[in-house]
Symmetry: C2
Subunit: 233 residues, 2 copies
DNA sequence: TTAATTAAATGTATGATTTACACTTAAAAT
DNA sequence: ATTTTAAGTGTAAATCATACATTTAATTAA
């Protein structure tokens, strides 16, 4: 017995905004695919698809991302729902965007094989279909806000990382330089990093100490907040 | 020529979370209505309804809110989309919540006549249908974040208000006491309030100066940020 | 073996902001 | 003229943010 039968039904889609950090190039990139159905077949687009009858929105996002890119077990977070009537020229489609943060390299090879998925530098994106540009812009703005208030950045680095690498990441997200001494003072005073007994020696003779994000001490100190905002202006 | 015809369509709804501030009782309240269709007919619910074929999500939210409460021209802001399969026992419905802030009193009389809409104190809400409780909780959390970073509170006060009234509002949202001198120092130093040449004399013999929110100076000084977070532990 | 090179690591002084805290003032009512 | 009530005000101490330059550790080349 299903009610509401007099009401109009709609096509509902999800689109996945996957931000990847390239630790070597010190750049945030966006995962794009060549769309393989009409309209706009062959154009650059976010990984997207339609929500099925028997799956939740969250499940749809995970299924679609996996089927287009092979990525699974990401922390996909809902961002915003786009509902303009004519946003998709193919039909009236309501689309919810999801975003996630990952480290590039992870799955780079598999990606190339599948559906022409590619990492594109944020600073020089190609033209994207429909309102995908708007989706990305909103998600990036949200990321820049969130990272001030939650230590989400660590998902973008390997388990072990140096303070230099961590600072590079923050500079990539904020898109500006940060003073090295102030950065270290602040991040270390939060007591959420654990210094390891091991050095990274690839990039310098002296070597840089590895650190690890300590989730327990983060949870312990969380009440004090995580307000991370250096060198604003 | 419409594409995507092989894909499943869904019922899509919007639900409106309207927070009202009662300046006399110094309390945040929530606008609820008695639902007038099955299932859960007669139960307390948010103002909600289905998105039509020919309207955007935003338009649907405004139409539905108006039809159920008579409220129009609110600044409705999209909050989150709820997509669990079984969230509505009547059928599979995907619902986007919208929220807004208004001052109570405004339209109180009209409301009573229409659909049994009522303001209910946040601190003692009745049981709400489906996942509406979850929607409210999320929207309130978002409000508490936003108000630290944007001067949204002024939508909850009359054009002219006293500093005491403004402080009462912040205390109602934060749910704690704020030091009077520090509050005034901080809010005045932002240069977004304009002191008027007139006193409010209802609540005290001495009277309290009226102020007005000055949107232009807010826009001017916005780059400096609006970080309003007093007395946090 | 010594010197040169490279990137990592470190500290301090100044100014700005936050916090804690209690008395005075204006106006009406008695 | 006195009492009552709520509005309005200031300061000192502590904390936090910022600007800024040298030293250190290790490898490589002479």
């Amino acid at each position: 017995m299903k009610l509401y039968s007099e009401h109009t039904k709609h096509l509902v889609a999800v689109d996945c905004i996957i931000f990847g950090y390239d630790i070597l190039e010190k750049e945030i990139k966006l995962l794009l695919i060549k769309r393989d159905f009409e309209p706009a077949k062959g154009k650059w687009s976010l990984a997207g698809g339609f929500v099925r009858k028997d799956e939740s929105l969250d499940d749809a996002a995970n299924r679609i991302l996996f089927s287009l890119t092979g990525l699974s077990d990401l922390y996909l977070e809902q961002s915003y729902t786009y509902g303009r009537i004519d946003r998709d020229p193919g039909a009236r489609v309501i689309s919810t965007s999801y975003s996630a943060l990952i480290k590039i390299k992870d799955l780079d090879r598999e990606l190339k094989e599948l559906h022409g998925a590619h990492w594109q530098s944020l600073s020089r994106l190609p033209h994207l279909i429909f309102d995908h540009q708007e989706m990305v812009k909103k998600a990036l703005g949200d990321l820049q806000m969130t990272i001030k208030v939650k230590p989400v950045g660590f998902a973008l680095l390997p388990e072990k990382f140096t303070l230099v690498q961590l600072q590079d990441l923050y500079e990539a997200i904020y898109q500006r330089k940060i003073d090295k001494r102030n950065f270290r003072k602040k991040i270390l005073s939060m007591n959420i990093l654990e210094k390891l007994d091991e050095k990274e020696k690839e990039t310098s003779k002296k070597g840089a100490w590895y650190y690890r994000f300590n989730r327990e001490s983060y949870e312990l100190h969380r009440k004090q907040g995580f307000y991370f905002n250096l060198d604003v202006n």
